[in-house]
């Protein structure tokens, strides 16, 4: 009895352990040696660090890929625009296609120094997430992407924020021809530069 009470008291003090025990015993902690050890990449217990020569090499590779990516990005935007027009005409599967392209731009563009393109694509994905089963209005997003992708380097800072803010406005989806679009803002912004 005392033993039982003692165990109960112990469980109250250590409820986490008690729950874990009920689930099948305490967790096993497994130490895993480093890959450097197991593959013999270091000797005498030396610790590894980043190699500056590799950092330079990666930077060079990314610079080359950035140039190629601009062409890919423009091609993606063109495909998206085409799919969007087809979707408006009632073509099937265009929703998934547009989302896939936007998702791809969202994931990759920033790595190639095209942060604003990536953020516009993120907003396109968000619009699709908010309207399941339908194709939301993204004319302005596509137009803005088209302008941004043709600029090198892409706009940053306050100007980029302004573009994104315009795209985020609720009225953007039901914009009339008299209202300024984000793309219009961009054209004017570049004109004043």
């Amino acid at each position: 009895m005392l033993s039982a009470l003692g165990e109960g008291a112990s469980m109250q003090h250590k409820p986490d352990i008690a729950i874990r025990s009920l689930l099948g015993g305490p967790p096993e902690v497994v130490p895993v040696p480093s890959i450097a050890e197991t593959k013999g990449l270091v000797t005498d217990g030396a610790h590894m660090r980043m190699d500056p020569r590799i950092l330079t090499r990666i930077s060079d590779v990314v610079s080359i890929l950035e140039q190629d990516y601009t062409k890919v990005l423009l091609s993606h935007i063109s495909d998206m625009e085409r799919a969007y027009i087809d979707g408006k005409s009632g073509a099937e599967d265009t929703r998934a296609k547009i989302y896939e392209i936007a998702h791809d731009i969202r994931g990759v563009a920033g790595t190639f120094g095209r942060s604003l393109s990536g953020q516009i694509a993120t907003r396109i994905c968000a619009r699709f997430d908010q309207t399941p089963g339908a194709i939301p209005a993204i004319e302005d997003h596509i137009e803005a992407l088209n302008h941004v992708a043709n600029l090198s380097p892409e706009p940053e800072g306050a100007f980029a924020e302004l573009v994104l803010k315009r795209l985020d406005e609720p009225s953007n989806a039901s914009q009339t021809s008299t209202q300024k679009s984000a793309a219009d803002e961009m054209k004017e912004g570049r004109h004043h530069d």
């Binding site: 096993e28 130490p31 480093s34 270091v42 610790h47 590779v61 990516y69 994931g107």
Partner: protein, 187 residues
């Protein structure tokens, strides 16, 4: 300190985006890694993993027919897997809490937000390769130990149930250098 040569590594990339696959392959090659395996979805990735036993897996999150979360879970729990502790880096454009928690529950080692900076990827690879880690095994979870501080509830050899520490690991690094991965990194 020794500058890292990652050249002997075998890395599996599981990614459905062609652009991302090209980018990752080029980045790894720039790191002198040439043994790179590529799969377009989780299902093909799992088959390739079981066949080739890579040292590190880099996977996307959202894919079909099998996503990166299930891939991670299957790698961690497959009974015939020779290395359920393989480091798994998940790259994902989904930063919502539910996705991060899902990744955590499936047992990923690192969750990097897309767009991934190449410096971050290199830094994480070097860290994963050079630091030993701890895994937690329970009836419902196998994955990295994410506790940042010592948990009083786990004190003592019986409750902690720690296997003997590999001598070389203890000698190489002080305790505070042992990798305790945070789940999400954005830069």
């Amino acid at each position: 300190m020794t500058e890292t040569s990652l050249a002997p590594l075998r890395i599996l990339i599981v990614e459905d985006s062609e652009q991302m696959r090209t980018l990752l392959e080029a980045l790894l090659e720039a790191m002198s890694i040439t043994d790179i395996l590529i799969a377009e979805d989780g299902e093909k990735g799992l088959a390739l993993y079981m066949e080739t036993a890579p040292d590190i897996v880099i996977t996307d999150g959202a894919m079909a027919p099998m996503d990166g979360y299930e891939l991670t879970n299957r790698i961690r729990t497959a009974p015939d897997n020779p290395n359920p502790y393989v480091p798994i880096i998940m790259l994902s454009g989904h930063l919502e809490k539910k996705h991060v928690e899902k990744a955590r529950a499936s047992g990923v080692t690192e969750y990097l937000a897309k767009p991934v900076s190449w410096q971050t990827l290199y830094e994480r690879l070097v860290s994963i390769v050079s630091n030993p880690s701890f895994f937690i095994r329970t009836p419902t979870y196998l994955g990295p130990d994410r506790r940042r501080e010592t948990d009083e509830l786990f004190q003592g050899p019986v409750e902690q149930n720690i296997a003997p520490q590999p001598k070389s690991t203890a000698e190489i690094l002080p305790l505070d250098a042992i990798r305790r991965p945070s789940l999400i990194r954005t830069k």
